[in-house]
Amino acid sequence: MFKKLFKKKFVLSALVMSMAFVLSVQSAYAGKKNDTLTFASRGALGNVDKSFNTSRTGMIVQRLFTDGLLYTDPVTMEIKPALAASWKWINAKLLEFELRRGVKFHDGSEMTADDVVYTLRYVADPAVKTKGSYIKKIDRVEKLAPYKVRIHLKTPYPMMVNRLAGGVSIYKKGSYEKNGPLSQNLNPNGTGPYRLIKILDGKGFIFERFEDYYKESPKGQPAIRKIVVRIIKEINTQVAEVLSGGVDWIYQVPSDIADSLTSNPRVTVKTAPSMRIKFLRMDAAGRTGDDSPFKKLKVRQAVNHAVNREAIVKQLVKGSSKVIHSACKPIQFGCTEDVKRYEYSPEKARQLLKAAGYPDGFETKLYSFLDRPILETIMNDLAMVGIKVTLDYSTWPSLVSALGKDKVPLTYHGWGSSSLPDVDAILPFFFKLNAQDLSRDPEVNGLIKAGGSSSDPDIRLKNYNRALKLIAERAYWLPLFSDTMNYIHSNDLEFVSPQDGLPRLFLTKWKK
């Protein structure tokens, strides 16, 4: 009897205790109550130093714990001085910066010209394999005074100001000596509004407000005490986290999910533009073989007429997405939409194919690693005019490899221009006469080079516009649409939606 009673009591108390334990589950990363903003990101981050990674998570993280000489305002897109108090072009190849005084690194030391010179010399060194070749346009960096530096460029490169405002952080002199590119992972020390206090082995990062952050910063003063980044790959899990209060902010949410949550009282859904555009590129240069159908202008024009871009934008991408007609994002400097346009007309596409010698169409292969539903729509549209497409759906490295082996007749691609509002962040990459360039048109390449090497805005505009008109006339691409960026966040949060698709989380604060 006693035994039975004991057993029953034991089972009951064990049950109660476990329930109490389970119910006491609190997210380790709470919200407003603990003054901790938790955001989920889909991409793992190998290196927190933006010079050595190209991921969007990396761009967000970098702006939290580091500052550059300049800063781009996310709403006005105006370039403002950050670590530099002022800057000026001495000539087309020489930039001069007067540095701000009293700026502290997270270790308490003061930032001086020595740190700027050291960092820029390191990343500009051709032997150091940074991501992005623009930084190698720096010839040398010289210190004029303890708070004055000059950057000498190899060739005129007006975009350097945007680049410096977009992702070149300044670190303490000697930072790279011991651990090279991984130095910030092992000993993070920036001048940004938040200190990177912990890297959670592949799971995320913890940042804490930097109390000594310089008052004149264009980024303002950090309002939230702690920011936690969690790497959660699965978007549905992210949504569940934000709905259950485990996470306060998520981004890159697909439009169908964002739409379904607009009326949910637990969260706020925001849609904002992104600098990313999507497009098809065709093997106009005949790299896949002399018999490549895409060598013929009429075939490329047919592709442009065959795809119903309006329907893709309205039915699939949604949000703030818009159809584009040029090989750039319309708000970028140098971009023009005043180019030859191809309206949706399957009939015209069929006629062009017939005139090109393909009355029954042809078979081809589409390489991509993105947006499966959109790819299937495009393939369906092309099949309607007789172009039978088989899909090679893989990863970005596989696509790069296939491009290097001249195996790609048609590819669907996206490009975010590193969120920079200038066509120099997109055109040189795709029309460089290298493996990535499927058109290999020296005239287009020459115009883009001319646009990128002049400091005169008029000359730049003229060359870029001409290049974009040629790209459209010769139908090297089928520009599809500008992407949208959907955010979902806690109702407690005030979040500034950026115009360039790059969230600045140091601007967020709790609602009062």
């Binding site: 334990f21 389970v22 119910l23 589950v25 997210s27 380790a28 793992a44 190998g46 290196n47 190209t54 394999k129 991501k131 992005g132 070749s133 590119p181 991984l182 992972n185 082995d201 592949g202 799971k203 969690r230 790497i231 959660i232 790959k233 699965e234 549905n236 899990t237 569940a240 986290e241 709905l243 259950s244 485990g246 990863t395 970005w396 490295p397 596989s398 790069v400 490899s401 290097g404 082996k405 990459f429 290298n434 493996a435 990535q436």
Partner: protein, 305 residues
């Protein structure tokens, strides 16, 4: 027994060697690692330089030999993406996967064996049919869907558990249910079949005729023999579970080997992919080897065959 053990061990080594050769060859042939490493802006010269630096310019058998000799000394290379030694990455992530795998295995056995026995005790009754329906449903349910349904149930409707992560034991409850449920049907059905066969044998009839209690007959005499084929299946299931589940680890953001496998494929992290496949292969070989030895120990006829 010793000869049998040595034979199985040799076979396991040969399998590991074959898998490593196939993995290495296929990964190197599927994509040019130098192009991937060089990044988006690389010139042809950059790519060639990387080929020389990393030894990708050497013939594939030479590259394999270099990799194998280093791997045997514990050097699995450096992750291209994470920039740290692969062995360090595996050491960081293995505990999560092992916790998930071992707990899931216990969960599966804890439910599957009793259910299998129950079904065998009352064959072709409603109880048997309920057990069968459970088994078929669990097998048919995609882990992805089941995981999300559990999240909706236990995190949104009844907020009892955290959605994702691996910081506390509560984080493992839902993943263990998902992985364990997937493994349950095979164990349950095999237990049922084994029990049915054994319960129809003469020695069980004799045991009953001797007046032994039904529980003793069932657990001491029948189950011990019925469980032999189940152990082999548990060995294979353990391989699946301890190797990490890409889907479950991704859904629940468990930072284990499965998630590492996914990340290394996405970023084409060659060194990581090779190491993860090798690890998975070794886990399978070890669990199958352990199951074989255990079976041979339980049933001497297996050794003699």
């Amino acid at each position: 027994m010793l000869i049998y053990t040595l034979k199985r061990a040799l076979l396991g080594l040969l399998v590991a060697l074959t898998v490593s050769i196939l993995t290495f060859g296929l990964l190197h042939l599927s994509s040019d690692p130098a192009v991937t490493l060089a990044g988006e802006d690389a010139t042809e010269e950059d790519i060639q330089q990387i080929r020389v630096n990393y030894g990708f310019d050497k013939p594939l058998p030479v590259q394999y030999w270099v990799w194998l000799t280093k791997a045997l000394q514990g050097d699995l290379g450096t992750s291209f993406y994470f920039g740290v030694p692969v062995s360090q990455l595996l050491a960081e992530r293995l505990p999560v996967t092992l916790t998930l795998g071992i707990c899931s295995l216990f969960f599966a056995i804890m439910f599957a064996v009793p259910l299998g026995v129950l079904a065998a005790m009352r064959p072709n009754t409603w109880l048997d049919r309920v057990c069968l329906t459970l088994a078929v449903s669990a097998q048919a349910m995609p882990s992805f869907w089941f995981g999300l349904m559990l999240i909706v149930l236990f995190c949104l409707w009844f907020p009892l558990l955290p959605v994702s992560g691996s910081d506390t034991w509560q984080h493992f409850v839902m993943p263990v249910i998902v992985v364990g449920t997937y493994a349950m049907p095979a164990i349950m059905r095999l237990t049922r079949t084994g029990m049915l066969d054994v319960l129809a044998t003469d020695y069980i009839r004799t045991a009953r005729a001797k007046g032994l209690r039904p529980r003793t007959v069932l657990l001491k005499h029948a189950l011990r023999n019925a469980v032999i084929p189940v152990i082999a299946v548990i060995g294979v299931q353990a391989g699946y579970m301890l190797g990490g589940s890409v889907i479950v680890e991704t859904i629940f953001a468990l930072n284990g080997v499965g998630l590492l496998a996914y990340e290394s494929i996405i970023y084409f992290d060659l060194a990581c992919m090779e190491a993860v496949v090798l690890l998975l292969c070794l886990v399978f070989i070890t669990t199958t080897f352990a199951a074989d030895i255990l079976n041979a120990w339980l049933d001497p006829r297996i050794r003699i065959k």
